[in-house]
């Protein structure tokens, strides 16, 4: 017995050989009999306060050894009742609620909301506004994917890509700040236009960002895509077939990784997306690794769209020329009585919407972001509903992770790219 133990210890621990080289530890498995561990399972509470849950998400995980038997997500820790709050606000006041939902891609939410309301009211925005919103949305798609990339690499155990990605995110923060004055809670859009016109030099800043980003993506690509640890942690993990993914309601990169080329920008184009030249990447295995590849490629495609949109950005007014919707300029308000009254009336009365309902969805960074607005003829909504892509994507996590290891659950959660502000709303 004693000799056996010694022999095992010698085999396990690498030592210096007689010639000074390191003798590697042998790889043959330890062939001791399987110990009796019993059959009861263990309950592990992941979150709500844990960085790997990407927010205040709580997963109650039942484990058999290290294998996940079942997962029960518990939500609502960040519930702010935005939809209820919206019913007490005028249409324009709701814009500030939208960016609090997804603080990782606030401009997409700002744009999606006003686009739905404009469709309800039958408003056609100016050409400059259309292109400016496309720039905003694509910029924030990259912005959100960069955060996903950083946290994803942290979860897989790589710290450097996180720093690279966040360096680039910082530049988008600066662009947000130049555009709106805020870095996260942008509230950049208004019904019929934007909060303000694009500031001087802003498009140059976006162009510079779009020019420099591919180099960073290449670097991260080199660190992760063919990395053995990364591949081992993600390939074949959390796979879902195309039919199941559609049936679960997955959208965005999570659906496309399973091979379903459903992208709202292509299938139900808005804002002339059909005239931009870009590809929709799809995966074929539907596992975590394919979701990684799809998002990496989506960033490159967004850069293409950014360049095209910057090229075609027309001059002219940003807001529509309609006194029932657009506010007069600040200078006019301060110097002209009629403009001040006009401003006062629009702010206090709000903009009435017809008694109809309207569904409008855009391709958000997390998936299909739908806005469902119901008006009753007044300046406030009867109902304002967000179709939360992360919420529906997260509902597939029990299906994706059961049977995998506990460590894989962290990767699956990271691969879904959720944001809790929008799940809990």
């Amino acid at each position: 017995m004693a000799s056996g133990t010694t022999e095992y210890a010698v085999r396990r621990n690498p030592e210096m050989g007689p010639d000074g080289t390191l003798v590697p530890s042998p790889t043959e498995p330890f062939d001791a009999p399987e110990p009796e561990l019993g059959s009861e399972t263990m309950l592990v509470n992941v979150g709500p306060q844990h960085p790997a849950t990407h927010g205040v998400l709580r997963l109650v995980v039942e484990l058999d050894g290290e294998t996940v038997v079942s997962v029960v997500p518990r939500l609502g820790y960040l519930h702010s009742s935005f939809e209820k709050l919206g019913e007490y606000r005028t249409w324009n006041q709701i814009v500030t609620l939208t960016d609090r939902m997804d603080y990782l891609a606030p401009l997409i939410y700002n744009c999606a909301y006003v686009m739905a309301v404009e469709k309800l009211m039958g408003i056609e925005v100016t050409d400059r506004c259309r292109v400016a919103r496309v720039i905003c949305m694509e910029l924030d798609r990259i912005f959100s994917h960069l955060l996903w990339l950083g946290t994803w690499s942290i979860d897989v155990g790589a710290f450097t890509p996180f720093l690279y990605a966040f360096q680039q995110r910082e530049k988008v923060y600066t662009l947000h700040e130049a555009l709106t004055g805020a870095r996260i809670t942008t509230s950049a859009t208004r019904i019929g236009g934007m909060m303000a016109d694009l500031p001087d030099g802003w498009t140059k800043g976006v162009r510079e960002f779009a020019d420099n980003l591919p180099a960073t993506l290449d670097e991260i690509d080199g660190l992760l895509t063919c990395n053995a640890i990364h591949i081992g942690r993600t390939q074949g993990i959390g796979a879902i077939s195309a039919e199941e993914a559609v049936n679960h309601g997955l959208t965005g990169a999570n659906l496309r990784a399973s091979g379903v080329p459903y992208d709202v920008r292509k299938d139900r184009p808005y804002y002339d997306y059909e005239s931009y030249d870009f590809e929709v990447p799809i995966g074929c295995h539907g596992d975590c690794y394919d979701r990684y590849l799809v998002r990496m490629e989506e960033m490159r495609q967004s850069i293409r769209i950014l360049h095209q949109a910057l090229d075609r950005l027309p001059g002219g007014p940003m807001d529509i020329d309609d006194p029932r919707i657009s506010l007069p300029t600040k200078t006019d308000c301060m110097s002209d009585m009629e403009s001040m009254i006009h401003h006062f009336k629009l702010i206090t009365d709000g903009i009435p919407a017809p008694a109809e309902d309207c569904w409008f969805s855009v391709e958000g960074s997390k998936g299909e972001l739908g806005m469902y607005v119901v008006g009753d003829g007044g300046p406030k909504p009867v109902r304002w509903r967000i179709r939360p892509p992360s919420f529906v994507n997260l509902s597939a996590i029990p299906k994706l992770s059961e049977g995998h290891l506990m460590a894989d659950l962290i990767m699956i959660n990271a691969s879904l790219d959720i944001v809790l502000g929008e799940i809990d709303r």
Binding site: V60, S81, H248, R268, G370, V382
Partner: protein
């Protein structure tokens, strides 16, 4: 000061403001050219033919969105047909939500469907009167309906019969103030701030960590309303 706003000035009076917004530019031809799904979705006619009497009415909202009001008793049957029929093939359930218009009017349950192969959208609505807030679950057709139905149950109090796990999802499970998105629910809740705090502090945190909650995932028994059994057989 130029004064009187009705006599001209930069804007020709406030009648425009009072009239509310309309189409800002007359470019209806241009807008129609951009619509991918032409108004008048053929699925509406097909649904009427397939289920005579179960389609109450249909309308087109916001220019190009087809809305169908159907019989809530036959919702699983109809949505199942829309999902499975190769001509319709609405395979993507985009959303389930509800709308309370207030004033005692019925609550609408709204299903937002999208067909990925046919690139067509359809909105199906069911009206439920406030004293019978119950509708059959469609989790058997779309697994993704699970959480969406739970959310509607949580915030509107609509019971989805046959749902495998109908619990509150966003609000805490011991939430006693009712259903927040109903119009009769006050914005700040029914209880005072002090009472809300007291309840939060007196609840036993151990309740959140009992291993039994995994076992509690077995289908919750939802007692069917009287007279539902006969209909349940007809629903495929």
């Amino acid at each position: 000061m130029t004064g009187d706003p009705s006599s001209g000035g930069p804007f020709s009076g406030f009648d425009l403001v009072a009239a509310g917004p309309g189409v800002s530019r007359d470019d209806s031809g241009e807008a129609a050219a951009r619509d991918r799904v032409a108004p008048g979705n053929p699925s509406v006619t097909a649904l009427r033919d397939q289920f005579p009497g179960a389609v109450f009415r249909n309308e087109i909202c916001a220019g190009d969105e087809d809305v169908v009001y159907v019989d809530p008793e036959r919702i699983t049957e109809m949505l199942g047909w829309l999902h499975n029929d190769p001509e319709q093939h609405y395979d993507h359930l985009a959303d389930i939500t509800a709308v309370d218009y207030g004033g005692g009017r019925p609550i609408e349950v709204v299903y937002q469907l999208w067909s990925i192969p046919h690139r067509a959208a359809l909105r199906v609505k069911c009206e439920l009167s406030l004293d019978a807030l119950e509708i059959e679950s469609i989790t058997g057709i779309w697994v993704g309906a699970d959480w969406l139905e739970r959310e509607v149950y949580d915030l509107f109090g609509i019971t989805f019969t046959g749902h495998p796990d109908l619990r509150r999802i966003l609000m805490p499970e011991n939430y006693a103030e009712g259903y927040p998105l109903r119009k009769d629910f006050p914005l700040r809740g029914r209880f005072s701030r002090a009472e809300q705090t007291r309840r939060a502090l007196t609840q036993d945190p151990e309740d959140y960590y009992v291993p039994g909650e995994i076992a509690e995932r077995v289908p919750q028994v939802v007692e069917p309303a009287a007279g539902e059994e006969g209909d349940a057989e007809g629903v495929g």
